[in-house]
Symmetry: C2
């Protein structure tokens, strides 16, 4: 029995998450972003890889500022990380202010109403409370609109009781180095900040860290790159791979005469050849859009996905793989050193981020490295 078999146990697939690689990626991003403090984005359960485990590994590596999307995510993370700053990006629903302060969570304040509610809550508690203030610079998704920024600049007393403040913005096109949108957003943000009370600024997501020193500000917010996604898509990936997904071959099938494979009888195999059925499907994050387009690796060979993706199964062509290597019980690699998440994403017409957050729950999860 291999160590993979032991970790796999009775599950159909094994997801291995390398916490040392996550920590190393954080160190690389921290070095690249010097002198800014390097934060870490753990939303969506750490991009599907486990916010608690990743958060503990990064705190041990030295990270002191974490970002989540939802209040619930912040509360869950606070339960395992007592010390670090935890910022909730989706903002403050005014009725939940007390839960933010009780769990020492910092809201990213996205509009004047949220600023007013947070300031009022600080006053009610007779204290001051920290806050990020999100100044939209062109994403038009969350954050103070230009007219709100104008009003705040002319009457900063609305911020009374909110201290320390961090001004933040979010880039829409950071992974496109040459896109003029990046510098336009930076300029709008700088102009807004210049009219507001002095405070640290946070601009760059993963890709933003690679746009040059102007984009670093005081605190960076990498997410995807921590998990091994390439922040510089037009250049080699400076990050270490973090995720390996392997699934068992359940059955192999000899095809001697022309026949169709899978749902809709949509794929025709001319034969002679062999098809292997593997215990992973779209319920496990192999998006249905990868049908007939993606590929897996078996014993170092590439095996193209053949036919539609089922909920729990895929079928792959193993005709050219030596028969003893592609047998029931053997492992196929779905994501790994030779198959980065971006590869699977490309076959589904999406981005590596969505592959990670779609990974599902049916795996044996095996964490290696880290402080665990």
């Amino acid at each position: 029995m291999t160590s993979e078999d032991a970790a796999l146990g009775r599950a159909g697939a094994l997801l291995t998450i390398d916490l040392d690689a996550v920590a190393e990626n954080w160190r690389r991003l921290s070095a690249q972003g010097t002198p800014a403090e390097c934060g870490a984005v753990l939303k969506a359960d750490g991009y599907g890889l486990g916010a608690a485990q990743v958060g503990q590994a990064l705190a041990a590596a030295g990270a002191r500022s974490f970002f989540v999307a939802h209040l619930e995510e912040g509360i869950a993370l606070r339960a395992v990380l007592t010390e670090p700053r935890i910022v909730v990006l989706n903002g403050l629903l005014p009725t939940h202010a007390a839960e933010y302060s009780a769990h020492r969570l910092v809201p990213a304040l996205n509009d004047p109403g949220e600023i007013a509610a947070w300031a009022a809550h600080a006053a009610a508690l007779g204290t001051t409370l920290p806050g990020f203030v999100h100044l939209d610079s062109g994403m038009n998704r969350l954050g103070l609109a230009p007219e709100d920024q104008d009003r705040l600049a002319s009457d900063p007393s609305a911020l009374s009781g909110i201290t320390p403040i961090t001004w933040m913005t979010h880039l829409a096109c950071a992974e496109e180095t040459g896109n003029p949108m990046n510098r336009a957003q930076l300029q709008r943000f700088r102009q807004a900040v210049a009219r507001l009370p002095p405070a640290p600024v946070s601009i760059a997501n993963s890709s933003g860290i690679f746009l040059g020193p102007d984009f670093l500000g005081d605190l960076t917010r990498p997410g995807a790159a921590l998990y091994g996604i390439n922040p510089t898509p037009d250049r080699p990936n400076p990050m270490m791979g973090v995720v390996r997904l392997q699934a068992r071959i359940l059955q192999t099938r000899r095809v001697d005469t022309p026949m169709t494979v899978g749902y809709g009888a949509a794929h025709r195999v001319e034969g002679p050849g062999r098809i292997a059925t593997i215990a992973v499907g779209y319920a496990d994050g192999v998006l249905r859009a990868s049908g007939d387009r993606g590929a897996v690796r078996i014993a170092g060979f590439t095996a193209p996905i053949t036919g539609r993706i089922s909920m729990d199964l895929i079928t792959v062509d193993v005709t050219h793989i030596p028969e003893p290597l592609a047998v029931p019980g053997a492992l196929a690699e779905i994501i790994g050193p030779d198959l980065p998440p971006e590869r699977l994403a490309a076959s589904a017409g999406t981005i590596g981020y969505e592959i990670l957050t779609s990974l599902g729950r049916r795996y044996a999860r095996h964490y290696v490295g880290g402080a665990l």
Copy 2:
């Protein structure tokens, strides 16, 4: 505070699952499939809706046979359902035979090796064990190939100790009423069964139940239709809706001058108008492929998705919705009575099944009805 607000609590989105509707759908499928016994497929955590909760509701409604994909899913379901038959469709990895018998799980035996291992396990225990034997009839995914069926017919002693047996097959194109593949598969299956020891047969998935009496056999295996997915896509949906997904509006934004929205600055809004940002994204099952194509409902109005889907957020056009109805804190319907899963699926170029299994974990989950 509405009852939805109470159920939502501090979460960004609320997933309501109507267990009475699931039970009613099972009764309808049971009636449609008479005289066959009506089973229920609970794989992938009950298509994302909770195998334990759905299983208990269906057991209370009278279901006695359940189907899962993985051994782990079978063990988890056995922990909450003591009595019913639980069949594991992905088959038997021979080293796990003892876990199947310990939890009284019935493997769907997919090849001669699995049959041999199960028979040997029965002999070792000095007892008999029940087994489904999957005869492939043209799906070419799992199940005994034609040559294996021939061998079994000429020497049925391989089945010694496996009793009772159920012969099963799986249809590749059942949702296409007129597809000749359906009758071709039925004929192949009938011919194979005729040469094998007499035993009950199981053929029909959800759509198969609507293909006519020839396809009913002794035990049906509906999955998707239980959860409200239309088993007859070319006709009105005979099922009740089961799922409602609602998410909070976090912010609304006035657009007075032409501007771009979201990642990649890919969507241009000419203005004047209003954009709302909603607390649900591709990490929550709104597949990224729905960007600029899907729509949500707010207070009875349709609001088109504008720009790319983010991990945690979508932006929608609310220009034509009265301003007081589309404010921060208000709920947008993502899936519901007017937006069946198929609608969201169509905007992402996929099927309702994948929407359900992609729903993610960040919701407040609210079960209504059922035996709970």
